[in-house]
Every structure is written in C-alpha cells, then in structure tokens.
C-alpha cells in the first residue's frame, strides 16, 4: 500500500515537471529572445571636456574628422591632395553616382569658379578618376 502511494506520487511529480516544461516552452515560443550580433555598426568614443577659465574665451573641443576611404586606383593621390585643400573628400563619397559629364563640370567649377589651382595636366587625371569610380555606371557599394 505504502509503495503504491509512493509510486503514484513520483508519477504525479514527474507529470507536473513535464507540464511545467511544456508550459515554459509555450511562453518562450511566443517571442524571440537573446538575439545579439557581433556585427555592429561601430561605436564612438566620448570626447573629454575642455578645461575652462572664467575669462571671456568661449570654446569647444576639436571637431572630429571622418575621412572616407576613397576607391583604389590611378588618380586617387591627386584627388586626395588637390581636392582636400578646402574640403574633405567626403564631399565626393557623399554624392550619388553622377553622370561622367557632371564630374567634369564639378572639377571645372572648382578650378574656374572656386579658384583651386589644379595644374592643367592633373585636371584630366582627377576627372578620369572620379568618372572611373563615382559615376552612374562605375560606382561600387
């Protein structure tokens, strides 16, 4: 009689455990959890604050630069040296793919309107580079 009770109790507890497991699984099955990724878009270090005095000078810390990686190929060095005098080369990578003639017009504008002294023999090198890598037919993701 006593052994009988014991066996029933064990079976009952086993049944409860199984039921709890099923119930627990049911809850978990209704959402995704713990989905982390090692692929991250990058993190930005926090800048330290300036040391200030109570004088009349108001300032901020240095403005960070985010130079882009330009496409590899002949003309890249010329672009990096002549196009960076007044602005970062992000002005190039930010653009949508442009028709080749638009890049010609942009370089001509920088020389004639903005007054950037790009030597005459370097101008075609720069134009060709931009057309080779940043035009509608040639731009790569």
């Amino acid at each position: 009689m006593r052994a009988q009770v014991k066996r029933t109790t064990i079976w009952f507890i086993a049944f409860l455990v199984a039921l709890a497991a099923v119930a627990g699984s049911l809850v978990y099955a209704q959402f995704d959890a713990g989905y982390y990724s090692e692929r991250n878009p990058g993190a930005i270090a926090q800048p330290a604050p300036r040391k200030e005095t109570d004088g009349a000078i108001y300032g901020v810390t240095a403005y960070p630069l985010y130079p882009p990686e330009l496409a590899a190929g002949p003309g890249r060095e010329e672009v990096e040296s002549y196009c960076s005098t007044c602005h970062s080369t992000r002005y190039i990578t930010m653009q949508p793919p442009l028709p080749p003639e638009t890049w010609t017009a942009e370089v001509n504008k920088m020389v004639k309107v903005m007054g950037q002294p790009i030597p005459e023999d370097v101008q075609p090198v720069i134009i060709k580079y931009l057309q080779m890598h940043y035009a509608v037919e040639t731009r790569k993701p």
């Binding site: 199984a18 497991a21 099923v22 627990g24 699984s25 049911l26 978990y28 099955a29 209704q30 959402f31 995704d32 959890a33 713990g34 989905y35 982390y36 990724s37 090692e38 692929r39 991250n40 878009p41 990058g42 993190a43 930005i44 270090a45 926090q46 800048p47 004088g55 009349a56 000078i57 108001y58 300032g59 901020v60 810390t61 240095a62 403005y63 960070p64 630069l65 985010y66 130079p67 005098t85 007044c86 602005h87 970062s88 992000r90 002005y91 990578t93 930010m94 653009q95 949508p96 793919p97 442009l98 638009t102 942009e106 309107v113 903005m114 007054g115 950037q116 509608v136 731009r139 993701p141």
Partner: protein, 445 residues
C-alpha cells in the same frame, strides 16, 4: 573613423548566443510535439509562427542614381562638441543632419539642431573680450557692438522660426543633382532671442543711396581671395520687408548658441531659407551697389518659374533665368510612425508630424491613410507663431493587416497647398512635395 572595437571574447559570446537560441528552439519543438501528440493543443501557438528577427544589414553608404528612399540621409551617426549623435554628411566643413525622431516636438533641441557650414575654417573658440559685431559701409556712423551691448542696449525680442537649409531633401531629386545629399533633416525650429536688425541699422544711420545690407560670419575658406571658396557673404535688399522681422540672436531656445550653430550671434530671417541666417555674424556691411559675390550671383539661385521648377534640357539650353532663393514653400512631415516597426491591427495609435511655411502660418493639415486617394483633417497642435513648426496629430486604428501608405498635406495662410509632385532644378532647392510613409500592419491574434 575612430571606432572602438568590441571587447571580450566574440567567438564564445557567439556560441553562447547560438546554443541558447538552439536550446529554445529545441524546447519549443519538443513542446510542440508533446502538445500535438499528448495534449492535443493547437499547433499555431508554436515556433513556426514566430517570425525571423530583423536581418543585420546596415544602410548603404550612398544612394542613387534613384531617389534616396530613406527619410534621413544615409551617413554614419557621429558625435560633435555640444551635439547629440547626428547624421554625418561631411566633416570639413561640418555638415550634420538631425535624425527624424527629434521632430516629434515643435522645438528642436539645440544639441540636435542640424549643422551646415560652407567654409572649413570655422570657429572653435571666440574671445568675447575682443569680438565685436561691426556695422560698416554706406553708413554715417560705423558702429561696433560687444555681446553685452547687444543683450543690454536693445530690448530683447523673441521669435519662433524654422531654419531650413535651401538644399533640404536634395537626395529626393530625380535626376539626382550634386551637392549636400540631405534627407529631410536639414531643418529645425527654435525660439530665437536677440536685438532687432532694424534698430542696429538705424543706430548706424544708413546713407540715402544705400541698396543692400550684406552679412559675413566668422568662417573662412582656404580658397583665393575674391572667390566663393574664401568667404561666405549673403545680402538682402534694404527695401525687403523681411528686414523688419530679422534679429541678431544671441539665444536659441533660451540658451547661448552652440558653437556649430553660430555662437556668439546669428542672423535670424524668419520665413527665409537658412542661407541668409549668417552664423557667427560679425560684419554687417551696407552696400550702395549690387552684390556680385559668388554666394549671391551664382550660388543659391533658383529658376524664376512657378515652384522654381525647370528641366535638365532647359538648363543645358541656357534658357533658365534665375533669382536668389528667398522664402520657404509650405511643407509637412510624418514623424511617427516611421516604418521602423510594425503596427498592430485594431490597436489605436497617434500619427504625429510637423508643418511649416515661409509664407505664413499653416492653418490646415490633412492626412491620408490610402496613399493620397482620400484626405481627412488632422488636429493642429499649439500655435507658436507664423514661422514656427506647427505640430499635428491624428488618431488612427489600423483596421486590418496589410500595407498602408500614409500621406500628409499642409495648407498655409496664403492658401498654398503642398503639391503631389516633385520639383527639379540644378541646385536641388525648394523640394516641398507631399511626403508619404508606408507602414506594415500585422495581425493582432
């Protein structure tokens, strides 16, 4: 770019993540089998119904040649002094765009306000012991004002006004045009406080033959003198009634201006595009002849046509007469929902947005839930004045699962209604088409 690498042991973390997920899946499948076989429960409660989590792709590094399909531009999010994380367009000179969610409120926080400089030598610090705002040129009494002169000798005047870059939404142009590839976030609204420009000009006594007033700020470029790459100058006609609304502002949302937004003072031109709102304003020059500088004669000009609209062919043929850009056409935006998350069928939500016009107050706001086929009035938020953002809301219960295209359309006090087609001009200016937001509605059970 300065990026810090994740620390720790990535492979182990990956395995832990995987094994935990696998375990859950296994437990789920086991539970399903037990339920089907032993308990007779409905199978659709189980794992096969759970959807795949979002993939891990990042935005592309550029858009085009088609239209930028995103609300903001696609650059990385970056950190600049006195600023929240903003979207980078360019780092030298600095151009940063405000993320969409900041437009849920009528006033854009200073730390989130977009940034656009033209020349690379922008101030990192200003010494107010020596800094002065000069009024010079065709005046009888040239003057120099210190910061304390401006804030104490003139009665402070405040205005809520939208500052929007002329090229805001340029990445929506088709065909695409070169220039800053802004999404819609090159705009912001603030309460500006300062001295009225007219009072400063009156104190300096303008000569009777004067025509224009020209503005210059603390930024300088490395290009040769006399070129647009060396100095950034803008001017307004002395007869232009907008001068009566202009302020020389030393406060933005009741705080000193962030350095990147024009500390110590900035010109406020309510209703006009931001190109005239000179940052770090330090020289006010009264001119008695036309302003021939690049930024007036060549840059920031729009076709003298309805909406500033033209075609690439007309530009090529040289048929396009242009005028300097001026007031902002009426615009409105859906800020939320933004399409980043699904909506639940039968569960009510609030659609939120903003509207503004450079021609006067927005006094009517319509919303469409069917891609512009039918329209209903949205509820307008508090009125902060004719040149401010006006918030609007519309309560909506998505009736059933599916895809919906929401659209927003503003009407201003002059009766201007947002059109439902784009605009094209070579500068990428004056975009004000009705904007849309697609949303996905899922089942609620």
């Amino acid at each position: 770019m300065t990026l810090s690498q994740p620390t720790g042991k990535p492979i182990q973390a990956e395995l832990r993540g995987m094994s935990r997920r696998k375990l859950l899946r296994a437990a789920t499948i086991a539970a399903g089998a037990v339920a089907v076989g032993g308990l007779g429960g409905p199978t659709n409660l189980f794992a096969q119904q759970s959807e795949v989590p979002g993939d891990e792709k990042l935005l592309p590094s550029f858009t085009g040649p088609s239209q930028n399909p995103y609300w903001n531009s696609v650059g990385p999010v970056v950190q600049y002094p006195q600023k929240a994380a903003l979207v980078l367009l360019t780092d030298r000179p600095v151009q940063l765009e405000t993320p969409r969610h900041y437009f849920e409120s009528a006033f854009t926080p200073n730390e989130a306000f977009y940034v656009r400089w033209h020349l690379d030598e922008i101030p990192n610090s200003v010494d107010l012991a020596t800094w002065r705002l000069s009024i010079e040129g065709a005046v009888d009494r040239p003057l120099k004002f210190s910061m304390s002169d401006l804030s104490s000798k003139f009665k402070p005047v405040s205005v809520a006004a939208v500052n929007q870059c002329s090229g805001n939404s340029r990445s929506k142009f088709q065909p695409r045009v070169p220039g800053g590839q802004w999404g819609h976030g090159a705009m912001g609204n603030a309460k500006w406080t300062g001295a009225p420009l007219r009072e400063l000009l009156e104190a300096a006594k303008i000569k009777p033959d004067a025509l224009l007033v020209q503005f210059q700020g603390l930024d300088q470029g490395k290009g040769p003198e006399g070129h647009g790459s060396h100095e950034f100058l803008k001017s307004l006609d002395l007869k232009n009634p907008v001068l009566d609304d202009c302020l020389v502002a030393y406060a933005m949302n009741d705080q000193p201006l962030p350095m990147l937004n024009g500390f110590p003072v900035r010109l406020i031109v309510p209703g006009y595009f931001a190109t005239y709102w000179m940052k770090g304003l330090s020289w006010i020059r009264v001119l008695d002849k036309p302003d021939e500088n690049f930024w007036m004669k060549t840059g920031y000009r729009v076709p003298d046509t309805p909406r500033g609209n033209t075609t690439p062919d007309d530009v090529k043929a040289g048929n396009v007469r242009t005028v300097p850009i001026s007031r902002m056409p009426v615009r409105s935006f859906i800020v939320s929902p933004d399409g980043a998350a699904k909506l639940v069928a039968q569960l009510p939500l609030t659609i939120r947005g903003i509207a503004f016009s450079g021609y006067g107050p927005v006094n009517k706001m319509d919303i469409s839930l069917d891609d512009g086929k039918s329209w209903t009035a949205a509820e307008l938020g508090e009125d902060h004045g004719p040149y401010s953002f006006r918030t609007w809301t519309h309560r909506w219960t998505p009736p059933k699962p599916g895809r919906y295209v929401l659209a927003a359309r503003a009407t201003d006090g002059k009766g201007n209604v947002q059109p439902d087609d784009g605009v094209w001009n070579p500068g990428g200016y004056l975009w004000n088409r009705i904007e849309r937001q697609e949303v996905v509605v899922g089942r609620s059970s």
